[in-house]
């Protein structure tokens, strides 16, 4: 039973990985249209105690996104093309002003963001930077690329104390 459950996560994860590699568009269509979710079914969360390898898979999935985010954040033209995003038209990458993601301060969001003149989430601010200093094209806040960029910024600040709203 647990084996089967583990296998299900692995399949879902592999689908995710496949989506990020070559056949990104097709797989993404399947995933987002809900086809995959309907076939595999929702995860039956917390009905059974977790096995070690399940937890490991959760962690692996998280780190996959962190690594993708790290690459996007540091300006990886090939990956951008693969993921169908254009984060910059000036040669500027996020990490040029934010080595180690310093001063992105994900633990302070959401907050009023002065440049934007509005209350913003981390994704909103990330898009503002893509749009303004980088002069790239804003991305869907629910896109794989945004999830990856968020994952990298949060991971970089692991252990920071939450301080929402602080300027």
């Amino acid at each position: 039973m647990n084996k089967a459950k583990t296998e299900r996560y692995r399949v879902r994860h592999l689908m995710g990985l496949g989506a990020l590699a070559g056949a990104f568009t097709l797989a993404a269509t399947l995933v987002f249209s809900g086809v995959v979710r309907d076939v595999i079914g929702p995860a039956y969360a917390h009905k059974e105690h977790h096995q070690e390898d399940e937890l490991q898979i959760f962690e692996e999935i998280f780190m996959e996104y962190v690594i993708l985010g790290d690459r996007l954040f540091h300006g990886d033209a090939e990956l951008e093309e693969e993921m169908g995003v254009n984060l910059s038209d000036t040669g500027m990458a996020c990490a040029m002003c934010h080595p180690f993601a310093k001063d992105t301060n994900p633990h302070e969001f959401p907050k009023f963001q002065e440049q934007m003149g509005e209350f913003s989430t981390l994704a909103g601010m990330t898009n503002w930077c893509i749009d303004n200093p980088n002069q790239g094209e804003e991305i869907d806040v629910d896109s794989e690329a945004m999830k990856a960029l968020e994952a990298y910024q949060y991971w970089s600040h692991d252990g920071s104390v939450l301080n929402p709203g602080v300027h």
């Binding site: 090939e78 040029m96 002003c97 001063d103 600040h157 252990g159 920071s160």
Partner: protein
């Protein structure tokens, strides 16, 4: 006011008292008298008031030398006649891409050149402090030369890591000559160092292409390149012999791409042999190091040596996660919506054997420095923890703009 703010305020108050004590000991401040007023000319010394902390640097042995400078800087203004009154300027970290990739960087480099040309009286010379190009591309370096050639005075070049690791300095040396170099000008010994060409070989083992080698080097927070900043034994020997015949009380000015102390090694905000280098400079009583690479306002003193961080024209780097040297009065947080903000060039004035430095910061001339923690991005949020990258060692791609 919450608890954190009260603690911060108390900390600053204590620090201020410490400074006052130090000043009283030197009889520069009568008991009960407050600190003298602030002007741009004295900002370095007032930087003492601001808290910060860099691991490994003891504040104790840093207090007194700066008082010395304080003293001498003021004495010089009252002195009669001038031994060596002249000015020179610094431009660095223009990080030029080819013009069709990024026009803003070109625009900003040209603005610095135009402003220096407009000075009256003119400067005696200009130093280009490295990172002229972004990816070491000959197209970028030649564009840089074209822009710098518009300067109406002599220009002296030292290399930055971005100028070097595509063709290992071939184009740079071809266009701008070898480093290190030295010349004497109006009683001052000027020395330009090469702190960037001695990286440990991180490319041969994995058979990196020149573009990949440059790509890793171009990432400040990339760990593959290791501790690449340093003078190396031969250059330190050269430095020592260059100073052999120089009087210990006469002024020495050093230009280096990287700071000659340990500020933040993970970003090579240091040279790895800074202890040995400072040891060579220690016998001299009037030494100033002007450095690029850090793209931010920085000030430090170690023994007799002042070390001053210069502005970039391309983009500002954030302050290091562990804070700034205790003597640095932090700059105001920059506005990412304004691509001129926090950037600019530097103007140095020599008067009676003392060099005074001024940040020619665009958009911020009257509020370069920030007092409130909310405004300076150093003490802003003490609850931050940061960890280094994860993908730099698996990344084999190329930076944007390389293709």
């Amino acid at each position: 006011m919450n608890r954190k703010e009260r603690m911060e305020q108390q900390r600053q108050q204590e620090r201020l008292e410490e400074v006052r004590d130090a000043l009283r000991k030197r009889e520069l401040l009568e008991p009960g008298i407050s600190m003298p007023g602030m002007s741009r000319r004295t900002f370095m010394h007032k930087s003492l008031m601001f808290a910060g902390g860099v691991a490994g640097l003891s504040t104790a042995n840093l207090w007194l030398p700066i008082i010395n400078t304080f003293d001498m800087a003021f004495a010089s203004e009252n002195a009669e006649g001038g031994i060596n009154n002249f000015r020179f300027a610094w431009i660095s970290d223009t990080h030029l891409y080819p013009e069709d990739v990024n026009t803003r960087f070109v625009e900003k480099a040209k603005r610095a050149v135009d402003e220096i040309n407009a000075l009256d009286p003119p400067v005696d010379f200009v130093v280009m402090g490295g990172d002229l190009a972004q990816l070491g591309d000959p197209v970028e370096l030649r564009l840089g030369k074209e822009i710098m050639d518009e300067l109406e005075v002599d220009v002296y070049y030292i290399p930055g890591e971005h100028d070097w690791y595509l063709d290992m300095g071939e184009t740079f040396v071809d266009l701008f000559g070898e480093s290190p170099w030295t010349f004497d000008h109006k009683g001052v010994r000027f020395i330009g160092l090469d702190t960037i060409s001695r990286a440990p070989d991180y490319w041969s083992v994995t058979n990196m292409s020149p573009e990949e080698r440059m790509g890793h080097m171009a990432g400040l927070d990339n760990s593959v390149t290791g501790p690449w900043a340093g003078l190396g034994r031969s250059q330190r020997d050269w430095l020592e012999s260059t100073l052999n015949d120089w009087d210990r009380d006469d002024p020495v000015v050093i230009f280096s791409h990287n700071p000659l102390y340990e500020y933040y090694p993970p970003w090579n905000f240091w040279v790895r042999d800074w202890r040995e280098t400072l040891e060579i400079l220690r016998p001299f009583n009037n030494v100033t190091d002007f450095h690029g690479h850090t793209h931010q306002v920085l000030y430090n003193e170690i023994d007799n040596i002042r070390l001053i961080g210069m502005l970039a024209t391309a983009w500002p780097w954030p302050y290091a996660p562990e804070g700034v040297p205790p003597m640095t009065r932090p700059m105001t947080r920059v506005d990412p919506g304004d691509h001129f903000d926090g950037l600019g060039w530097d103007l140095m004035t020599f008067q009676d054997n003392r060099v005074e430095h001024e940040y020619m910061m665009w958009r911020r001339r009257d509020h370069i420095f920030a007092n409130r923690p909310e405004d300076n991005a150093v003490t802003k949020n003490p609850s931050i923890k940061l960890q280094p990258r994860v993908a730099d060692r698996m990344w084999t791609g190329r930076y944007r703009g390389t293709d």
